[in-house]
Symmetry: D2
Subunit: 402 residues, 4 copies
């Protein structure tokens, strides 16, 4: 067996914003023997998982589960609904928004990329008024879809999806609303039906606490309608056959059975705890981690308090400090993985994930590693973030949403 | 935890031609903690796996690993090399060949489907001379690719890929050669480089003994060349970024880490045993199972002794017997899953997989379940297949390739 | 990791009469993180396990669980109740009875060993009338305990414990009744309270389907009374402190936590299936295996049809055949472990276990390995045992107790 | 499956001084299928484990492995070497020394219990000069054994075993030297042969990082000699049959196979890292934790800097604070288990384990939980222990003993 751990003892602290630490309970579920995906047991599993996953998206409409990692679900959303040359409106919230833009171009779609100017655009959420303004200009409705990211994994900034929906309605524009909540789902509240989203894209390796390898498209009637006329070629990602086969709990081709075992277990854990409790838990962690960043005298990447992510926190390094060098030192000395700055944020910040199989002391450990590592790297800190977070957690016991 | 086993006691016998029974050693490897797919440990894992997988395909050219199940790898082969309206030549060896044909049409490619007439075509392998003849007619070289299945999972018939290559060379035709060996790889000999294959398609859940969720494209220089001019839209499946990122052991998007742990373990097991030993083992199992079918007085689906599959055996039911009813009885009474007849073979036959985590007695158990179940279903049997297979295994001890 | 499997592929068939094949569900439960055996969670686990285990012994009296393998529970039964020089009456049913006799001597107890003469004594169960006769002679009641084996693991012969109780009552003798049902518990019916047993001894690695490492003493009020005056030194095995600590779900010293996780899971599986269903299942397997032995024209070790073990079957080799040579060939060629002949039965017979994580086809596999291995060893067989067992299983579907 | 975790999310921090957190690698090894303990594979496993375990005890003499938890190994040491009424000299270092004294009395041995007066005796190690003095007085050599604890798990105080040996030699006394290093082995240096120990007692669930269930007696020629004349009854614990059977890698009765898989894996991990590196690692952790206690302005239980335990640290609560109430609050609020004060120390202190599957940040997390929990309980702290430990770890990188 390949020894994957370069460290002598103990468990690695995986505090990146996904893949998140996988609970042992899920790893154990994944180790059940693979079954026949055409046999009677599989259908029972399929129906169970498909029913529960709807509750996570807060939808009564079909949720398509792909045996592929998250990027595939983006592609699926585009190829099922659009045709070559179609215009879509995207909003530059961060690195993953830019990747989506790039993918759209590769697939022959023509994205228009809105956003706040420069790097500052990456420190705020989607500006719904900019979208409304742009849609109002689009009198012939040449824009076929609005694509936004709910929780920008690269920055720790969320966006107000209900506001985007409101903007589209206010503009009276018929474009589809597509939302990437790959890292938001099952951490931050998300309401596919109530917010009128047409395609929601998500993945397994974040709030669902699974290893990567499963991804999702939650659909709307309007999206399904669009899929009937869309001209982009599609087969593996095509909704029609999957939605039809799912009616009896099966898939048109081989699903990834063992990850579905894990998904079923994850859904039991999350629905058992209660979604509202899950959201409160992540919000509290986020607040504790931001208390640490404040105490250090550093800046949080997200500059708008209304849209701090409950999933991850971006920590901005002072001018002249190479965030990646700090991260590497922390990795080597403290057996702790942090997320790197991506794209425009490269080298400027690091990201602390507070999701997955965590608790208060896991985060205290992670903040301890950050604090010691920054000091060893010569970063000047105003005070102790570990103590601030510890104090926050101690004085803010976890409430339970009845 | 969902109880997936409808049976009161013991381990289910999964003798379908894939997903194959997964060795515990692989399930254990898959339960290692998920790591950062951007961290130093992951790069080491990636390089290790990418190096070993080449040995399985017998190639020194790039092998692309997708975090998606096998059907995706078919799509990848087509979208990376072809353009809308391109002609391809396919050969109808069985159900999976027809699915590939159907996929090509959905993607905008124009397949021409050769084959022997009727159901009999499903009882023999690819006829290389028919391909040669057709290619010779194609004077303007409008056919861009020849697509064949190496081991037809729906029938238990293999095809002579070297002969197909020979036919193409004899015709002096420049089409790409694409081969699906999803169920053949690591069971039957396969030589990507020596046979001059341009794209080989495979998956994880057969001879590699993994759960489904990983699939492969082995490439050639000519295939890579074609990918630079191909016009079908592609992003998730695009080879260019993956091949570039693989140079340092990484992927452009999130790979399915835990299945890669399993893949690495599988590769160690297979290369440790030695590919030639693995092939001998499967051939011997196939011979034992065919001895059973002969003793029962039934027909093997494959009618050409030269191309019996070492991976699975199709057992044809006598006229008037519903093979699926027999299978269901066997499933319920003996805790044994068999493969169903697919497409033209629906209800006419069942398939016994002899691959994955098996040994002689596993197959004796499976043949016992078949024999008792057929009797209970009123199928008349000439003699005992279990005893014939037992005798075959006893008198043909496993040899070791040097 | 040490590679423990000397075989190239597949799962070993462990058909010895214990340790029995452990269900994956139990192995998974055992892999939960070890907890503080003084913490609140442990007490909840302890109470749960202690409550359920009583149902298995059919007792409302205390069951002591030792963090030690089965032989220790024998020692515990003796040292808690007896004093140096005490006389006990034992009955030679087979090898494990002789080991118990040997242990008693080492501990300073004076066993008297009843039994039928010679090797034939090992082919029948306890003769209650012999016990009654002997106890009637013991007018001064110098015999302090009667010690018998419920299911002789070395022979596949059970004994009628209710009859032994009847014999003791008929003789009006106050001796304690101690019963070893290490391999009988949770396979064959056992009634600690109804049969008036004073100390029942059992272990984890047979019908409970756990790895070895846990053993049991089920007690009676009379046994507890005896423990207050017994003079043999005891500390680790002493009931008093354990019974006291168990009241709140704890142990006086460190229990083996992870095996208790496994025990809890096993109890859920067994009680979930229903004890009567479990017994029917084992009886049916025993009948099927004996049908095989009959078909081979060989003798079953147990010569009294009333007391055939539902747990294992001893297969007697013809004169001149070395049973151990046959076993070794079967092990090497067919990846199947069988039990050896022990003591007086050494080299004369082998034992097939039909317990633990098994089903009909597991046993067909095992019988197939036996049949082929005996043939290769030159044993003359009258007919096919595999086919006889297959026919038996096919024509005797598993009934469910209401 | 019983849900053992009372906490909503994340991994419990098990920082008691044993059972220690078990590495996943060991849990995985323990989940291998149970094999026949009389078969060829088992003998290979047995020899491998028996060979490696000698290196851990630093002995070339036999090490007996019991399928029983640690308390059993104490009993084994006494019953194998002593006779009813034999005098032994024990030293009261803490709670576990008193339990050993109590066990000796139950078994009919007559311990004399030396020690420093009162509770202060629990804050220092064995006083070798007191032992020497007492042995010099014992002119007729009626004292048969000196029994001391190497690492007192109840206090975090080690003792100088070489000094005890020196004292015995100086007194010219022939008593056996028996040492309990249940919690010291594989954390603190231990030299069975060089220190002239006759019986060393240890267990699996501390430095060996296994679940409880295995225990050890390392022997000397003199101990084996004593076992031939000792009169205490013994069978399960008797060395003679085990040592004889071990010669070929087997045990006279059923060993606990799956824990032996775990032991084998643990030995590979420890010997792979190198014993000296393992010791350095634990010393550094101890120093870091003591830096935290100093910063808090609290007392470490051990008052002699020469014998601070590298395995655990006792933290003394100020007068009037109920240590158990503090522990319970920490358990409930921070998902952290700490060791309780035992015996004379009950309610006065708690114990932090720094052993098993840990790293620096695990300890930072644990100290964070302690600090916040003490504050919430109203304990006045002089400063921040978390920061002191973090600073210690940051400025004292782990050295490697070449």
């Amino acid at each position: 067996m390949l020894t994957l751990d370069f460290h002598p003892s103990g468990r690695h602290f995986l505090q990146i914003p996904g893949p998140s630490p996988v609970p042992d309970r899920i790893l154990r579920a994944m180790s059940l023997p693979t079954i026949d995906h055409r046999g009677p047991e599989f259908g029972a599993l399929g129906l169970e998982v498909l029913g529960k996953i709807q509750k996570i998206f807060k939808t009564e409409q079909p949720v398509v589960i792909y045996p592929a990692s998250g990027t595939g679900a983006w592609e699926a959303a585009l190829v099922n609904t659009l045709s070559m040359g179609d215009k879509v409106l995207m909003f530059e919230t961060g690195h993953f928004a830019t990747l989506w833009d790039k993918m759209a171009r590769r697939l022959g779609v023509e994205p228009e990329f809105l956003g706040l100017p420069g790097y500052d655009g990456w420190r705020a959420g989607v500006q719904a008024d900019m979208i409304e303004r742009r849609l109002r200009e689009d009198i012939e409705h040449s824009i076929k879809a609005v694509c936004v990211v709910h929780n920008e994994t690269s920055t720790g900034v969320t966006s107000d999806i209900a506001a985007v929906r409101g903007a589209m309605d206010a503009a009276g524009h018929p474009a589809l609303l597509m939302v990437d909540t790959i890292s938001g789902l099952a951490c931050a509240d998300y309401q596919h039906d109530a917010w009128g989203v047409d395609v929601t894209i998500s993945g397994s390796q974040k709030g669902l606490m699974l290893p990567p390898g499963i991804s999702f498209n939650a659909l709307s009637a309007k999206a399904l309608q669009a899929s009937r006329t869309s001209q982009l070629p599609k087969s593996f990602w095509a909704w029609d056959e999957i939605v039809a086969a799912n009616k009896t709990g099966y898939w048109p081709y081989t699903p990834n059975t063992n990850l579905l075992y894990g998904l079923n277990e994850a859904l039991d854990m999350i629905l058992g705890e209660g979604l509202d409790n899950v959201f409160l838990r992540h919000q509290r962690w986020g607040a504790g981690v931001r208390a640490a960043v404040d105490a250090w005298g550093l800046e949080v990447q997200c500059q708008d308090p209304a849209v701090h992510s409950p999933v991850l926190t971006g920590v901005v390094m002072p001018e002249g400090v190479d965030a990646d060098a700090v991260r590497l030192l922390i990795y080597k000395r403290f057996d702790l993985s942090l997320g790197m700055g991506l794209g425009k944020a490269k080298g400027k910040m690091f990201r602390i994930g507070h999701l997955g199989d965590c608790n208060d002391l896991t985060l205290i450990a992670a903040l301890g590693g950050c604090e010691a590592g920054m000091k060893l790297s010569g970063v000047e800190l105003k005070g102790s973030g570990v103590l601030a977070a510890l104090d926050y957690f101690a004085t803010h016991p976890l409430r339970t949403a009845n």
